[in-house]
Symmetry: C2
Subunit: 180 residues, 2 copies
């Protein structure tokens, strides 16, 4: 399909992603493209050669987190207690530590074919489905719960965190049900 990319091109690409990661973690979405370019030691033009727009870069910079989540999920969400609960708590933890991840999640949704995109995300989706099935088999989760529901909740969780809300409380309200 595509001729192998030139060596320096690939090097610059990773430099840009690395720089972006570092900046996004702390300051989230509000870092300017020129600043990222400078931090990466390249020109803005180069950034735009590798990523169609700012949003694509935000997502690329968050990609490794999805792998991280998948890893955690496989290792620790198939025990005796609710795996989904552990999962959500871990995601909340990550989101609250990496503002770049919330930026990626908040904007991923809501435009043409942006659902899973990226291999890490696809594999993550598989694991989530497995967690759901596992929990359901153990009678720990309502039988009609789907992957889409989990996306819904993660999106909500992200927005709560973005606004500085008490996300642990949010998860409590979810788990313990609203009514007494």
């Amino acid at each position: 399909m595509s001729t192998k990319p030139r060596a320096d091109a690939e090097r610059n690409r990773t430099r840009v992603v690395d720089a972006a990661r570092a900046l996004f973690v702390e300051r989230g979405d509000d870092v300017q493209m020129p600043e990222i370019a400078r931090a990466a030691g390249v020109g803005v033009g180069t950034v735009y050669r590798h990523f169609p727009d700012r949003q694509a870069l935000v997502e690329a910079a968050a990609e490794h987190r999805f792998a991280e989540i998948e890893e955690y999920a496989r290792a620790r969400c198939f025990g005796e207690s609710s795996g989904l609960e552990r999962y959500l708590r871990f995601v909340g933890e990550l989101l609250s530590r990496d503002r770049g991840l919330t930026a990626a999640i908040d904007s991923a949704r809501g435009r043409p074919g942006s659902e899973p995109r990226g291999t890490a995300r696809e594999r993550l989706e598989t694991v989530v489905a497995e967690i759901i099935a596992h929990d359901q088999a153990a009678g720990l989760l309502r039988s009609d719960c789907t992957v889409a529901d989990v996306y819904l909740l993660v999106g909500a969780l992200s927005s709560v965190i973005r606004k500085g809300g008490d996300w642990a409380r949010f998860l409590d309200l979810l788990r313990d049900q609203l009514s007494t």
Copy 2:
């Protein structure tokens, strides 16, 4: 305190708010200031004389919705079944019909002293507290639920709706608890 405002000033102010409402309902946040000004038949400068920034206008345009919600709440959220549930459902309905309201709610949070602001909002807060108390007295709501919790949930609800998620499902997951 303040000398009464000039007649034309007041007239223009309402023109701007009306124009903004109409445009925001359909297209939410993404309407430009010049377009609003044009629709209101005034210059941009005039818009900015009345509202310090775009955000203030978004909020002013949504203000009437808070009165609407309060009215509904007083009339229909003090029956035998959970008033909070009715409340959330009604807010969801409104949010999904008025993209300007989601814009107002999503951005209200997260900056200096922006919590209730505006008399309509303050009165609304009071009613919400009453609903909570009423539900709790009837044993329909966990005893540690606070007004802040409701804000949290409304914020989450708004973000779900903004992203085009299934908000009714979201409320179901909240109410029916996640675990079987």
